[in-house]
């Protein structure tokens, strides 16, 4: 399964994102994002990327692919 990391920000934001995605049946794991600096993100199945971004955007969360 190919995965992608969505950068969210703080650990608490990442936890919220993970829980929100899980409630919509998208499995997400908490990870450190790969961008410069330090942020947290969620790793998801690449196939779920668009759906996940839409879910997080609707909840007011920015989620950028890194």
């Amino acid at each position: 399964m190919e995965t992608v990391i969505l950068t969210v920000g703080s650990i608490t934001f990442a936890q919220r994102a993970r829980n929100l995605l899980a409630s919509r049946k998208i499995l997400a794991n908490l990870v450190r994002a790969r961008q410069s600096g330090c942020s947290y993100g969620v790793r998801i199945d690449r196939e779920k990327l668009s759906e996940a971004q839409e879910i997080l955007r609707s909840a007011g969360m920015k989620a950028e692919v890194t």
């Binding site: 920000g9 703080s10 608490t12 936890q15 450190r32």
Partner: protein, 375 residues
Amino acid sequence: MIYFDNAATTYPKPAGVTTALLSAGSQPIGNPGRGAHAAALFSADAVFEARRALSRLFGVADERRVVFAKNATEALNAAIFGIVPRTGCVDVVTSVLEHNSVLRPLYALQRVGRVRLHFFEPSVDEEECVQRFRSAFQGQVYLVVLTACANTTGLNLPISILSRVAHERGAFVIVDASQSAGHKKIGLSDCGADCICVPAHKGLYGVMGVGALVLGEGAPVLEPYLYGGAGFDSEREEMPCELPDRLEAGTLNVHGILAFSAGVHFVSEFGEEILGAHLRSLASAFREGVLRLGFSVYSPIESEMTLFNVGDLHSAEVAEFLSERGICVRAGLHCAPLAHKTFGTSSRGAVRASFGAFNTQEEVEQVLRVLNELK
């Protein structure tokens, strides 16, 4: 030992809290919000669950609006210094019943010309209390800081009404719920405050070293009170914009937060109404007993603690007498000097008996028998 000092800290703690604290010692408690390994994520999730439990208890939808501090004093300092603008001078209304954790930050701001303070004296009569509160609004009041329950007499202020009046006048409201949380429903929507500050170790039956600010949706963006690492966005010179990290610099007391979570669970299982009714029943019996002995009582009928004095004795003498007989109470000014000035007890203080979930009527009767020796 008979422990009647629960307003200082509750004892004993529920079994779940002790278990949580002890088992934390053998669990993989990493530093949450720092690493992304199993140990860090384990504790991050535990802290998140604690935020969620508190958000449910205080009626906020977003657990990120629960900010941990080391105690209610730090939470109140963070709220007061965070809300008062960094420049200019604003009017602040507060009461004469406040604890020094409210008074001293406000005095510090007054000394440097950032606030003008307006005090009012709460009354047992609700209508009179509101009228006195309204009279304290002079100028364009920016902030109101109030205790929900006085830590001296246990007087409960009509916080929801006072908050409404404050908001009608355009003021923000910070509530010190140190003596209410856990035995009086004090959700943000119930009391109408913008921010509630609580300690873990009193009515929420957690341990010392943890407290929380709970921020309502209408709360302004708080300026940070403490600066340091937040675990992300390290390249920024400023603290993050996001809650809770903006107000949580440095490592959290994770072990204490786990215990806090267990305490909140204990309170949620019983419900604040049941716990509050138990405390009021004990306080009522004790108050009546003290009055029958002919001693002075300063607490109103509907309170969860009893403030009293014995004849002309200094309060410390009475407390020492009781302590020698295995009874724990608190004497003195209780960090609330203006309250004691109001009661006329500044010179000798007063004795406070404050009750908890595990106190009994038999203990109340036993202490009254001991106090009878002082007649």
